[in-house]
Symmetry: C2
Subunit: 358 residues, 2 copies
Amino acid sequence: MPTKFTVEELHAIVYKIFHKAGCKPTDADSIAEVLIAAELRGIPSHGIVRIKDYIGLYQKGRMNMQPDIKIVHESPSTALIDGDNGPGIVVAKEAMKTAIAKALSAGTGWVAVRNSNHFGIAGFYSLMAAEKDMIGIASTNANALVAPTFSTDRLLGTNPIAFAIPGKEEKPFVADFATTPIARGKLEIMEKQGKSAPEGFIQDETGKSSTDPSILKRGGAILPLGGDYEHASYKGYCMGAMVDILSAVLPGANFGPFVPPQVAYLEPKSESPGKGLGHFFGAMRLDAFRPAEEVKTYLDQWIRTFRNANSIDEKNKVRIPGEPEYEKEEKIRESGIEIIPQVWEELLKTAHSLDLKL
Amino acid sequence: MPTKFTVEELHAIVYKIFHKAGCKPTDADSIAEVLIAAELRGIPSHGIVRIKDYIGLYQKGRMNMQPDIKIVHESPSTALIDGDNGPGIVVAKEAMKTAIAKALSAGTGWVAVRNSNHFGIAGFYSLMAAEKDMIGIASTNANALVAPTFSTDRLLGTNPIAFAIPGKEEKPFVADFATTPIARGKLEIMEKQGKSAPEGFIQDETGKSSTDPSILKRGGAILPLGGDYEHASYKGYCMGAMVDILSAVLPGANFGPFVPPQVAYLEPKSESPGKGLGHFFGAMRLDAFRPAEEVKTYLDQWIRTFRNANSIDEKNKVRIPGEPEYEKEEKIRESGIEIIPQVWEELLKTAHSLDLKL
């Protein structure tokens, strides 16, 4: 059983699966590209492991592999896109391309998306803009797992936001983070390892602080960034809410508790005030503000000031957002992408269900 | 000695002071309006208490009360504004008006500002857009008090961000928050009361967690939202960094540690890679995405879903960002704005220094 793959090998496998499931060649290519980007950046929770979910939803008729992605409404600097329930990655790439095209003519471009699905890592789309000398912003809502401050109800997803800006000699600054102190995937790993979760991450079904990483299965919830009220969890709640409003209220996607499950084993929601899951993208040309070279040189100075700051101990220097992922990518490209046996077996099953031999 | 004022009384006093200091009538009016809005919303740390700082900087020749605020560069949806070292409130209002005007023609408007000063409460500007059926965004960088994760150095301000969107029957959702778990003003109050600060807010000059609210005077720093690395303080650091980049790197204002002090008793920085302090504003017409009435009705549904969520205890219901401030405003408008004796005495001194009798 193979455990390590080159980018090319893995790309060919992912491509085959989605092409077989009915995706256009360019779309199958996009899905492979974004899932593999997650593996390379050391975020396997958003990589190959997601294929079984995407294909599972397709096989239950809950994801459309041949979407007719449409601009529903537009202005010089904006667009509303309906993703026709297509794979989130395909819809998101198209939406970010639209934002970039708008920015080329109007200075900035802002695209709100409804009727989409899980789009992988937000950072990928923000970097599409950074490559064109633009600031890139990408966010999405997600299945509700997070309780707002003072509540026992799960009303928000981990709602990530990504922000990228290019430097001149430095690699782009890329912040890409969930608006919670911990992601669901990390809790699952703690549970498998028999570990407790640190205080301030999760609560039980009555709202009492918990350290049991399996608590989500019994009505528990993730807390917003900050943890509790005393530590300003309402600011994390504000951030998650802003992402939900931009990604769902603005375009008319399902918000908060109504976001459709992104896995096939959970039933669809009975109530749907909007259409599918939602995203929000932005692109701002640097030279719509001042010469791009000036901004990029100044960002280099910002990066170097922070990188060279005094650190508390020698082991942990101040990091520039994006840097840890660049380092992982360099290592993983060289060593190959490791797919753990459980994920590989699931992938074989998924391929088999499509009458495909890997 | 008066302790309570009506809005009109206080407005007249603030107007007099800034008019006497050389501000144009409309500018003195704006400063009074924004400082009093902070008092009404229950944020006195950004209200009348700031007058001594603004006037102090003016008297030392470090703030220009008659600025020639200029658009340096623009595109259909963007502008770069130079505030000519004017009062931040005057510059910020002009910048937000520009963002709104751009949004009227291009769908959205985005304005980056350099060469400005402390602008009061960010929420005020985001609400200017909400009144016009737009989403409003406002942010600013600020004097460096915050250490990024792993550092002993103060490299970031509390860098607030505000986001407002109007509802149909509901009042606008307004999130307005510093990207730290605590503001400097609250630490000062704890110090005066002889209280300890909770764990996870501040560190000493070696980077060790501290509960001493006076630690900032001895090389300590505020921590980013999240607190420590384990609790994802790097996400709070990312947010503060994003605000610094939009407000300073993009327009060419001073970033992070180089932000000029906003009080007269601190000397100006010896090194200035940019111009003054920076802000960033955005306005997005709702109907640049879909009919404004649809978005506003859907926001009402969002607000009611969250407001009616189950709460952990009866005392604390889930709050909608902005609601606590609306409630305070209603109360304070009725009862009058209370100015504590120390602040009133400072104000008299400030007036006296301008040869003005209040």
